[in-house]
């Protein structure tokens, strides 16, 4: 089938790339753009490791999104989370709490946590469960992940307060 040229912005960088209709956003990012931070897991919507954030910062499963549908739109992947040369508080907190073991699910967890904390820096236990349920980690048991998210939330809350004062 005829390829189509799409304009896709990833982490603020504009790309023009030729895609076939049957290619998923995940395939195009990994195989055409060489952005391999986003992982290819089940490719069936059930593991969440392919999670990226859409235009409103919402979580999207890139294995179930057609790349052609993202023409003219932008996404954020785990490669775009750091702030300057520093890791984002969520990333730091994941490292500090041992919420990363084999690391395969980590990009999906980070993007899901970011989608939550971007709009809610005081999440309840239920909020965290709800936001993270779509990503499965085989190693950590999710306990450390939750601790890491709570810690990152408090860092981000503090930042909001400081920001408010200045």
């Amino acid at each position: 089938m005829a390829k189509q040229l799409i304009a896709l912005t990833v982490n603020g960088d504009p790309y023009e790339v030729a895609v076939s209709p049957h290619q998923t956003l995940l395939e195009v990012m990994r195989d055409s753009l060489n952005l391999t931070g986003t992982k290819r897991g089940c490719t069936a919507g059930s593991c969440g490791v392919c999670t990226v954030n859409g235009e409103q910062g919402e979580v999207i499963l890139s294995c179930l999104a057609l790349a052609v549908e993202w023409d003219g739109r932008s996404v954020t992947t785990v490669e775009g989370v750091e702030e300057g040369n520093e890791l984002h508080p969520i990333q730091k907190s994941f490292l500090e709490h041992g919420a990363v073991q084999c690391g395969f699910c980590t990009p999906g967890l980070i993007m899901s946590a970011k989608a939550l904390l971007d709009v809610n820096t005081s999440p309840s236990e239920t909020d965290i469960n709800e936001a993270m349920a779509g990503v499965i980690c085989r190693c950590t048991g999710h306990i450390k992940v939750k601790k890491a998210i709570k810690e990152a939330a408090s860092v981000l809350r503090e930042r909001e307060v400081n920001h408010g004062e200045s």
């Binding site: 999207i60 179930l64 057609l66 052609v68 549908e69 779509g134 990503v135």
Partner: protein, 329 residues
């Protein structure tokens, strides 16, 4: 898993989309959020030559209060959008509950209400990769005349797992089905069919464009039981809507989901509550009748006997909760 190849059609208007559907007959598939369709294509259960995307059509993404107080919900509204919408939260809390337990936030951000209503039926045999399926004989959904779920059955018994279907039926909602020749309105109670292959009354060329919810009235409840709390299809769901008082209900609507290729209305159980009111005895009897009325149950992931027992508990538990809800106008 990769998708099979297809030609992608993104219409600029609904009319253009309906024309494409009429032109391509059974060679075209409708995609809304794609969270179910694309998966089935990856599994090689579907291989349409053309794929019609509803995603650019803003006319299918509106929520509109009609003059008679009903709410018209565009088929392409995402589940997240609806679950967070004030009208849905305040006026249709049981629908909100049903939407909010679909998959995960990730799935709800992509999945739409139209796609959820039309969700393809599932079973342990077909919802596997093609390589896995090829090690066994086919079935009604693929290339043979048998059902792996209920052996010797004359038709497909794949399970209908839509979480929104049962409550939309209980609330007496309708769907608007459009084709290039016009529109028809079908009550949700008449939308499903007890056949896993042809599980809805949608005809080729038709698109579900909207769901119409009657003005909020009375009380309603939705329950879902699944093995995991998140990211799981239901083992069983139950939706009930009651108008009137506990002592003298004017109308009672009870629907079970995830038990068969269609959500099941339970007329005998409804009658017991209508005649007896929501007393302990009547609720108990209704739950019992609901269980016994389920003749064939799709034993997907859960043995039939367990599912039947579970249904009784589910129905009773939900009705007791409904009885305690404040009676609304």
């Amino acid at each position: 898993m990769q998708l099979p190849q297809f030609e992608y059609i993104r219409p600029k208007s609904l009319a253009e989309g309906l024309a494409a559907l009429a032109e391509h007959g059974d060679k075209i598939a409708i995609m809304s959020g794609g969270s179910d369709l694309l998966l089935n294509m990856k599994f090689r259960l579907e291989g349409p030559a053309y794929l019609l995307s509803l995603n650019g059509l803003s006319e299918l993404q509106q929520l509109e209060k009609l003059d008679d107080g009903s709410l018209r919900v565009g088929a392409a509204c995402t589940l997240t959008h609806l679950a967070e919408h004030t009208i849905i939260k305040e006026c249709y809390p049981a629908l909100r509950a049903a939407i909010f337990v679909v998959g995960s936030r990730h799935v709800r951000n992509m999945g739409t209400i139209g796609g959820n209503i039309c969700l393809e039926t599932r079973c342990w045999y077909t919802n596997q990769s093609k390589i896995w399926r090829d090690t066994r004989e086919g079935c009604f959904k693929t290339d043979a005349e048998q059902c792996h779920v209920i052996k010797s059955a004359p038709k497909c018994h794949a399970l209908n797992s839509t979480d929104s279907g049962p409550i939309l039926m209980a609330l007496d909602a309708s769907v608007v089905l459009a084709s290039h020749t016009g529109e028809r309105i079908v009550p949700m109670r008449e939308f499903y069919q007890n056949d896993g292959v042809e599980h809805t009354v949608l005809k080729p060329g038709e698109v579900l464009t909207a769901v119409v919810l009657p003005p909020a009235k009375g009380r309603s409840v939705f329950r879902k039981l699944s093995q995991r709390e998140g990211l799981d299809f239901a083992t069983g769901t139950f939706a009930a809507a009651v108008i009137g008082s506990n002592e003298q209900p004017e109308s009672v609507s009870l629907v079970l989901g995830s038990v068969a290729p269609e959500p099941r209305v339970m007329p005998q159980a409804e009658k017991i509550l209508l005649e007896g009111g929501l007393t302990d005895e009547a609720i108990d009897a209704a739950a019992d009748v609901a269980r016994r009325a389920l003749l064939e149950v799709t034993n997907l992931f859960t043995p039939t006997f367990y599912k039947k027992r579970l249904i009784k508990v589910l129905v009773k538990d939900a009705l007791l909760e409904l009885r305690d809800q404040r009676v609304r106008g």
